[in-house]
């Protein structure tokens, strides 16, 4: 199940501890990740709306899973893993947004992230179940991304 904490601090703190030798190291990684995530989400959306190539969606999911997990952004990583598995047809459903948001730790304010861009989940055809679930997952990934960004902005005390 999706972890309640947006950030796994035991992982991120380890990276932040590297700032001692190399000031700004952790922040530069996080900023890189944000760029990467936005690019990847857009690419996923493109794949969904045009080629509907499940293998490519699997790859994109795997890619973003790796970097988000490395930074301790575990909810994003979880959603990316769903996209990866949906792309491999080893899963076929994705939980509802409300259920997922209900799991977020109480300390996080989720009101401001509700209005994320979404892809319509109305595919038809052989792979429609996977594509519809990926569309839902992508929407959720963007929500999780906003949550993470908010959390990290709060930590660093500045806007990214």
């Amino acid at each position: 199940m999706i972890p309640p904490e947006v950030v796994n601090w035991s992982i991120l703190n380890e990276i932040i501890s590297m700032d001692e030798d190399d000031p700004g190291f952790s922040k530069s990684l996080i900023i890189q990740f944000f760029d990467q995530a936005i690019t990847t989400f857009d690419e996923m959306e493109k794949q969904l709306t045009t080629t509907q190539n499940l293998a490519e969606l699997d790859n994109l999911g795997h890619f973003l899973k790796g970097s988000s997990a490395a930074l301790g952004l575990q909810r994003i990583a979880w959603v990316c893993e769903r996209i990866q598995n949906l792309g491999r047809r080893s899963e076929s459903t994705f939980p509802e947004k409300e259920i997922l948001l209900s799991t977020v730790a109480e300390s996080v304010d989720i009101d401001t992230v509700q209005d994320s861009a979404s892809v319509a989940a109305n595919f038809t055809g052989d792979d429609s179940a996977y594509l519809n679930a990926i569309a839902k997952a992508l929407t959720q990934a963007r929500v999780e991304f906003k949550l993470a960004r908010k959390e990290l902005c709060k930590y660093y005390g500045e806007e990214f």
Binding site: N8, S10, L29, Q32, F63
Partner: protein, 545 residues
Amino acid sequence: MSFDSHNLNVDIPAVMKASANLIPAEADLQNITTETTTNISGNKSKTNSSKNNSKAASNEFVRKLYNILENNEYPDIVRWTARGDSFVVLDTGKFTTKILPNHFKHSNFASFVRQLNKYDFHKIKTKPDDKEKLIYGELSWEFQHPCFRIHDASQLDNIKRKLTSQKKMDDRPPVGVNKNHPSQQNEQGAMHTVSNDTINLLRKRVDGLEKELRMYKDENLNSKVEVQKLNSKYNTVLSSLVAFKTVNENLMNNFNILCSTLVNHGIELPHPLYATGNYHSSKSTGPDSSGNSSKTHNPLPLMVQDTKFHSQQQGVVHQADSMMNISNNTTISPPVKSEESLDLNNIVLRKGFHVLLVEDDAISIQLCSKFLRKYGCTVEVVTDGLSAISTLEKFRYDLVLMDIVMPNLDGATATSIIRSFDNQTPIIAMTGNIEDQDLITYLQHGMNDILAKPFTRDDLHSMLIRYLKDRVPLCEQQSSQQDRRLSSQSSHNQSNTPQQHLQLSVAPQQISPSSTQFPSSNQSQSAFHNTAYDENSHILKKQHT
């Protein structure tokens, strides 16, 4: 076709006389040889085609004979019998000398008889009291075929060569084909018959052999798969054993510490228990019970030792050490201090290991190389499997960290290729896919170990310790052994440490033992660790997620 059939005179004495010396030929009747057949049919065909080509066909021989009989050209040599359902050779001698050469291009009565036999003519046996014998003479040869009748050419088509088992293939070529070059055709036919048979026979044998080969191949494949399965099971069992041993040792050590502490506090212990405990003490590990319990879950002694030792509990360890010393002095059998315990107390990774990082994600690259540098390693990065192969072909590294999912070539495949020329460099998979099946695949591709993503600094450090603790960095080996100028190189010089003479094109067995980094025992031990560590990876991952 209409033929004149009068004048059936018979010269009986002539027939009797001539055929007398030809009787032995009858023995040959059943002796059909392909060659002779070909000759006869060929000769006969030629004759016929020159004389009568109105109905050339498979049975030209018969037609020719029919024509001779119908024309009644040699009534004293050969003619229809009175009933018209058979013919009789009255004078085999004249038949052989006159008719055969003229019409059949040979002079061998036996061949003629054989040919007749081929077309299923039967010799009518002579009975001593047969009236007809009186007419044709005792030495006459009478032949009959149900379809071979006087004035009945229409039946001739039904006279066909007997199908022998060897000649089924082309006994009956189409009428039109044989017309032009009958003899050639027939000869070819005969040759084909023979070679076709041979070919069929050979083909059958080849088919059989191929089947067998396929069967053996399948069997071979199956046994290979089985061996692999057994191998991985064997590794699992071994690693479990190693894990058990580790746990056991840790428990033993802690028990010893406990004993010595108790002794120090003036509590007397039953002597045998204490002595036994101490006898097995070969390592000094984590001193307190909390460290102890965490270790029990962890099959990796080195990593635990390291993290515990360096992080929280140094002071306690020192205390425990001193207690151990006291107990050592007071016990009857002093504990054997093994090399291992020395290692455990001195685990500090040497500086200057050269690590190849194969990873396609920029963030992971920065993180991982940051950690590696923190541990004193120099790092070189390539971003796909193909580059990893070409880099390892040119340069040597102390360790390779390899992502699995990468563009161009995945890490597992790249490793299996690298293993074809480099069996020594430890290659560690870094992956988020830690399903059992995946893990087995990675190990089967020649990867030494698996570092589950996301990993912490400690995970990475324990991996470095496990594979590098007994090693001297390649750059130091170079500088101390061979090339002094290398020693001046900065440890942060990441580019192309020139170790050309240690290139991996050298076959593993050619590298002298002194330079071999992984003696077989060590290698197998690291293999044992693999699965143990897999479990560990799961645990670590659970903690993270």
